[in-house]
């Protein structure tokens, strides 16, 4: 199975691990990521102005490219996934956006939201299956107590994202179980990490991160995983005290599949 792959800018810079291990693990799991040629930045945030189309165009270009190849579009970065999924929803359902974007793009055939947008985790859950994944694990992470940190972008708005229950998600916990580790459920796993507020009010971001980390620690988590580069930044750079080990989920996936050397 070949998927169109939209890595996004962070994965080419700050979050190279997220990208590398996603590709390597895909090979081991029997699917292939074909990077979309000349993809452009998703914009980072979904534009909420309802008359805004310019910042939606990069997403539509990627989506239309995937459509032309008849492939589903995969993302790994939470922010890219959030933006592209929501733009795709607009292209399928919002008449005004459909018309104006297509008028501007001038494609041979108008793009009307036909492409299926999947997050890498959704591929693991719905296409590969966590049971199948568990069978391919050669290096189970037995005994590691891992807290899943969801953040907000993957889960909300839940009607559009259709990712998991926004209040009581299970996909990352199921993933942790599949790679042989022990998931730790804690209250703040779907609370905001502070996002971009760390640029403006660092202390505020710190207090938000602090809540997440102390909640996870109180429940016995020894490390956290996330899918989001911005969450990763906040959780590691804006923590007070000693902090916690935070990895991208793809790193642990690669580790469990025996692709990545175990760090000491």
């Amino acid at each position: 199975m070949i998927y169109s792959y939209f890595p996004g800018c962070t994965l080419k810079n700050k979050a190279k691990d997220l990208d590398l291990y996603a590709r390597e693990s895909a090979k081991a799991l029997g699917f292939e990521l074909e990077e979309i040629p000349e993809w452009q930045c998703c914009g980072g945030v979904y534009p909420l102005a309802s008359d805004e189309i310019a910042t939606k165009l990069p997403s539509v270009r990627a989506l239309a490219d995937a459509k032309s190849k008849g492939q589903d579009l995969i993302t790994v970065c939470s922010a890219c996934h959030h933006v592209i999924k929501r733009v795709n929803d607009d292209m399928a359902n919002v008449n005004d956006i459909q018309t104006r974007v297509n008028n501007y793009m001038g494609l041979d055939e108008p793009y009307l939201g036909e492409t299926t947008v999947l997050h890498y985790l959704e591929v693991l859950r719905d296409r590969v299956g966590f049971d199948e994944l568990a069978k391919k694990v050669t290096n189970p992470l037995t005994g590691r107590k891992i807290g899943a940190y969801y953040g907000c972008l993957l889960l909300r708005p839940s009607a559009t994202m259709q990712f998991d229950d926004p209040e009581n998600p299970t996909i990352l916990e199921d993933f942790i179980r599949a790679i042989g580790a022990e998931p730790v459920v804690y209250a703040m796993r779907n609370e905001c990490c502070g996002g971009y507020v760390s640029l403006k009010a660092k202390d505020q971001a710190e207090s938000m991160v602090d809540r997440v980390l102390s909640s996870a620690k109180a429940k016995g988590a020894e490390e956290l995983i996330t899918a989001c580069p911005l969450c990763m930044y906040n959780l590691t750079k804006n923590c007070k005290g000693e902090g916690m080990k935070v990895s991208y989920f793809t790193e642990l996936l690669a580790e469990a599949l025996g692709i990545k050397e175990v760090q000491s």
């Binding site: 209040e167 102390s214 109180a218």
Partner: protein, 662 residues
């Protein structure tokens, strides 16, 4: 030659604001056969009806078309008027230019055009109307009440006191319903059991009332005045006549692992059980899904210790058929499931409970003997947070769009009672609006705020999660103070939305009674016929019709009873003469009509028929007009066009279609 009169109603501005009524009248006057047309402000009024009467006399009218509201509203009014002024009531046709025209259109030109077309169709139809004579049918002087809660009990008592027989069918082992689960009742704080149990006893002892508990309605046939109902009496495995209600079997039953439905799963019950100590009848049932003997054939403890020899493991469900003149639906409500409201953590945290569960905890006969504790560890709570509108007034498609109506009041009640018992408690109530319309209701709520110092906060709770110290962390917003709130609590109580009881759809379809998008049964008229279903002979009592508190439920129960009494007091009912009729010359005896008839009104036999001048004996259909309800299914099924519905004949329908397409 027909002489038709057309009467166009303004309905105040309801019609006249969107439809040019004068033009409708003028245009229809030009239709062939129409000799009179006029418009009037309120045609249904005394003066309006007199206009029709005067025209009948002056112009010797032979048919009448009233362009007005839906026939469901005033067809009967105009039929009666016509009869009063000497015309057969079935020579009146209604053109609905309100619900189907003026109310749904904005453009006056288009609406007027449509009103004219609708009027023209009615004129075309009335030209072919034949005078019909209504027949009569007998009334079975017994009523069925489905549901044995306070609504059903009160309705049954009121009907029985008027001297008519009543059966109550209740699907649980005891009558009493939701009210029997409550602790105290607002606004006067009488204990629910103290005011309900005497009524339960009275219903049980009343010579005119028969209780069928642990029973369900299986099938409903017939029609108003003459319903035939199959009732499934589920196997109780305990002989009602022999059991003395000593309770020994429940105490000794070794299988005590089934969640107690009556206590909302807060504790467990035995496999043989009565739901509560004051149950009526005080005869236990055996839960066949839990009983070790019924599942494996081993155990039999209850049979061994029962001194009365009442246990019978061989019992089977029994179906009995009873006849009724009227049926009252009083199926009540349940709280909604909270699977879609994970932000409140109901499914993940034991200390998050529904208000109904709190009622059980507060009730002296409840699982904790009335001592309110944290279900997780049995400790006394210090801080309690109430969340209002959980699933009510919900715009997220997860809950219900309506206001559940009772929650504001019972939350105030619970808060005050808790403060009475545990004055040290810190109580916060999160609300969208506090709605307390009702006699002495607002005073009651104000007492909670002013005298009991209950902290009311306008704002919704966003998340309830487990705090690091094992208490609950409540995150919310205070809209008046514009601030985020994080507070710890020991118990969170969710004022959960109420919805019609499970199974009401099944009941409604058996009764052909209509329900709305929320599964509440629809009343015949929202204002003027609030306790009747649009289906004749079906009446509504209690929350099955819409959210209600106890005083309202009891009032509606009485109203439903008075309607039933009015019906049962008649010896005969006037039947609808718009029944099917078979033209036996055309009938080929195929039986299609018999198969589709939902009322069993059609039969076949050999009859002498004159066809094209020759006598022959052949198999033809006959309609029993006492059973026929005029649904018209047979007229569609008949391949040879022999079946016709009087008052809605194929010719009349086609004439309407022609008139519309002209």
């Amino acid at each position: 030659m027909q002489r038709i009169g057309v009467f166009v109603c303004h309905c105040g501005t309801n019609i006249a604001a969107t439809v040019d009524v004068k033009r409708v009248a003028e245009t229809l006057l030009k239709e062939p056969g129409v000799v009179h047309a006029e418009d009037y402000q309120y045609m249904c009024s005394e003066a309006g009806q007199k206009l029709i009467g005067d025209a009948i006399k002056e112009k010797q009218l032979t048919g009448i078309v009233v362009c007005s509201c839906s026939p469901r509203m005033h067809e009967n009014t105009f039929r009666k008027a016509a009869e009063r002024y000497g015309i057969n009531p079935y020579l009146v046709e209604i053109a609905n230019i309100r619900e189907q025209c003026s109310w749904i259109h904005k453009d006056k030109e288009e609406a007027t055009e449509k009103a004219i077309i609708l009027g023209r169709a009615a004129v075309a139809k009335v030209m072919l109307n034949a005078p019909l004579q209504a027949g009569t049918s007998p009334v079975t002087k017994r009523a069925l009440v489905i549901g044995g809660g306070i609504a059903g009990i009160q309705t049954a008592l009121d009907i029985a006191d008027a001297g008519f027989e009543v059966d109550i069918v209740e699907r649980t082992p005891s009558i009493g319903g939701r009210m029997s689960q409550l602790d105290k009742t607002f606004p006067t704080l009488d204990c629910a059991a103290c005011i309900l149990t005497p009524k339960m006893v009275e219903a049980n002892a009343h010579e005119k009332i028969t209780l069928f508990t642990w029973s369900e309605v299986e099938k409903v046939g017939g029609f108003v005045g003459d319903f035939k109902v199959d009732i499934r009496k589920k196997a109780r495995y305990v002989d009602m006549d022999k059991c003395t209600g000593c309770g020994e079997c429940q105490a000794k039953c070794p299988n005590k692992k089934t969640p107690n439905e009556f206590n909302r799963g807060l504790n467990n019950r035995s496999a043989i059980y009565t739901p509560f100590a004051q149950a009526i009848p005080n005869v236990p049932v055996i839960d066949k899904n839990a009983c070790t003997y019924l599942k494996t054939g081993k155990c039999g403890v209850c049979a061994k210790i029962c001194k009365a020899g009442a246990i019978n493991y061989e019992a089977q469900d029994e179906i009995i058929t009873r006849e009724y003149g009227a049926i009252v639906v009083a199926t009540g409500f349940d709280t909604i499931k909270l699977d879609k409201f994970n932000e409140y953590g109901y499914n993940t945290n034991k200390d998050v409970i529904t208000s109904l569960e709190l009622e059980r905890l507060m009730n002296a006969a409840g699982p904790t003997g009335g001592h309110v504790v944290r279900p997780s560890n049995g400790e006394d709570p210090k801080t309690i947070v109430f969340v209002q509108c959980v699933g009510s007034r919900d715009t997220t498609c997860r809950g219900k769009t309506y206001c559940s109506k009772i929650c504001c009041m019972y939350t105030a009640k619970q808060a005050m009672l808790l403060k009475d018992h545990y004055p040290w408690l810190d109580i916060h109530v999160f609300y969208i609006d506090v709605r307390t319309p009702g006699k002495n209701f607002d005073e009651f709520y104000r007492r909670a705020v002013e005298e009991y110092d209950v902290d009311y906060i306008k704002g919704q709770v966003g998340k309830v999660s487990e705090a690091e110290n094992g208490r609950l962390l409540v995150q919310a917003s205070d809209l008046l103070d514009n601030r985020q709130i994080k507070m710890e609590a020991d118990l969170v109580v969710l004022a959960t939305a109420i919805e019609p009881n499970e199974g009401v759809r099944r009941i409604a379809s058996m009764l052909t009674a209509s329900i709305d998008t929320n599964d509440f049964l629809t009343e015949a008229h929202a204002k003027l016929r609030p306790v009747e279903s649009p289906t004749a002979g079906i009446f509504l009592s209690g929350v099955c019709q819409g959210p209600k508190d106890i005083p309202e439920t009891v009032a509606q129960a009485g109203a439903a009873a008075s309607k039933v009494i009015g019906l049962l007091s008649k010896d005969h009912l006037v039947t609808n003469p718009c029944t099917a009729k078979c033209n036996q010359v055309y009938c080929n005896g195929c039986s299609n009509c018999e198969k589709v008839c939902p009322y069993g009104a059609i039969s076949y036999d050999e009859q002498m028929v004159i066809r094209f001048g020759a006598r022959e004996t052949t198999r033809v259909a006959t309609v029993n007009t006492a059973l026929c309800q005029g649904c018209g299914a047979c007229t569609v099924a008949c391949p040879s066009g022999a079946m016709d519905l009087q008052g809605f004949s194929n010719r009349q329908i086609l004439a309407e279609v022609d008139a519309i397409c002209r």
